[in-house]
Symmetry: C2
Subunit: 244 residues, 2 copies
DNA sequence: ATGCAGAAATTGGTAGGACCATTGGACCAC
DNA sequence: GTGGTCCAATGGTCCTACCAATTTCTGCAT
């Protein structure tokens, strides 16, 4: 006897129905992120529901980061929507910032290594060329501005996730990336943060180009290790600022 | 000159103010998960805002999984809340095909191994006892019903994630679990699905109890590998049902 | 024509009131 | 006890009106 054989019935689910209708709408109209979707009043009239109900539904989507509402302007699509989407709110209630940052890095350590290994297994010659291109851009930015660039660095990593063939890597690590940078603000006083990670980017690329999964995994782990070290240095600096 | 030194002022942020007030309320009243919080009407009156505004705020919290609203009964706290909490919606685009299922397993492979290793490093004697308890329950269920039990098996794994000390493991793997089981229902015709993974549970536990991170990692990888094999067998069976 | 200030329309945000649907307890008949 | 009915409390929905921010239009001065 399975307890799931008698699921609770749903008599009313107005907001869910509204959201389902909206999913169908954006698909029918082929709306892209950035596009404006109909007025709350229009939606309420078309769907034959109260404007309040429409607002509750849109509030939920706003909380999920799917839409953005601008007073006086309209409601805009912020991300692609599809019928089979899973929403999972991540809650990070760690004590201090340092702990939370380390937590995001632990996830990245696991996923980054796996993605690099899969990438080395599955990369086509065109994929390898694309990754090299991103690597060149990143290295040039590094030399020009004499420091790690968040932007180009991120592009390089994203290319690896994409080539891994598993879209979940990019989506989850992107969430970690954003979570990380939300705690960031002040770089904990470490001026050359990320500097030590630079050489490992090329090392990862070379392993991928050589179709060496284990090597790519190892180099990715080293890269994350340098970031963790920087983070620990910063935390120590904050705790003992006078003992320099 | 940091662009963040001049954040945009907030002329109106009623719902945020409501949520902040609610955080203060649950802390002042020391509310625990499961407790009921005041009526929407009461909140609207006390906070001097419209009931609509209260509802929008509660809708956001509901979306984050912090509260649960039951019509006719009330609104109940579902998770602990604190002022310094960071929420980040993770939206994953899944599919219902074989490839998507494999993708979730690739993520689990990476995270499961890392979590097991961290668990082996950080587990206290009490933690190890707790994990053993879950393992016993699972093994008994296995022998009684002669098959892997999704429920008890999941409890065992969750215990490991918790002991890892990083709440993100449990949350992200839970998302993978959800994606996987969304299209589960029938185990692709493989009756003894997961059977092969059984012995590795105890193997993982023994590595954790022995404080052997590398061993725990290796056993976790083997466990996921058996699940991947089962999945492939099921897919082959679906494609070639007549060639048995 | 051009440019710009101010009016007007549009749109999301808030307010307040009313009613419906569900829940859970009180109460009662059997 | 069991089952049923009633009733108050509570979230869900609807309606209308107005506020606040934004965009668009208008019309005057140049």
């Amino acid at each position: 006897m399975d307890q799931n054989s008698l699921p609770p019935i749903q008599t009313t689910a107005r907001d869910d129905a509204v959201l389902k209708a909206l999913v169908g709408f954006v698909r029918a109209e082929a709306l892209q992120p950035g596009d404006r979707l109909p007025t709350e009043r229009i939606l309420a009239e078309r769907l034959k529901v109260s404007r309040n109900t429409v607002r509750e539904a849109l509030t939920r989507w706003e909380g999920l980061g799917l839409v953005e509402r601008r007073q006086g302007s309209g409601t805009y699509l912020k991300a692609a929507v599809s019928p089979d989407m899973l929403h999972m709110p991540l809650t990070l209630a760690g004590g201090n910032d340092f702990t939370s940052l380390m937590h995001t890095l632990e996830i990245r350590r696991a996923l980054e290594a796996e993605a690099a290994a899969l990438c080395a297994e599955r990369a086509s010659p065109a994929d390898i060329a694309e990754i090299m291109r991103k690597l060149d851009i990143m290295e040039q930015a590094f030399r020009t501005r004499d420091g790690m660039s968040s932007e180009e660095d991120w592009e390089f990593h994203q290319a690896i996730y994409r080539v891994s063939g598993n879209p979940l890597f990019e989506q989850i690590i992107a969430a970690m990336h954003e979570l990380f940078h939300r705690f960031w603000e002040h770089p904990l006083g470490v001026r050359d943060f990320g500097h030590a990670s630079f050489p490992y980017h090329r090392a990862i690329y070379e392993c991928i180009a050589a179709r060496d999964p284990q090597g790519a995994r190892a180099e990715a782990l080293k890269l994350i290790a340098t970031v963790e070290d920087d983070l620990k240095r910063g935390a120590a600096k904050l705790k003992l600022p006078s003992q320099t």
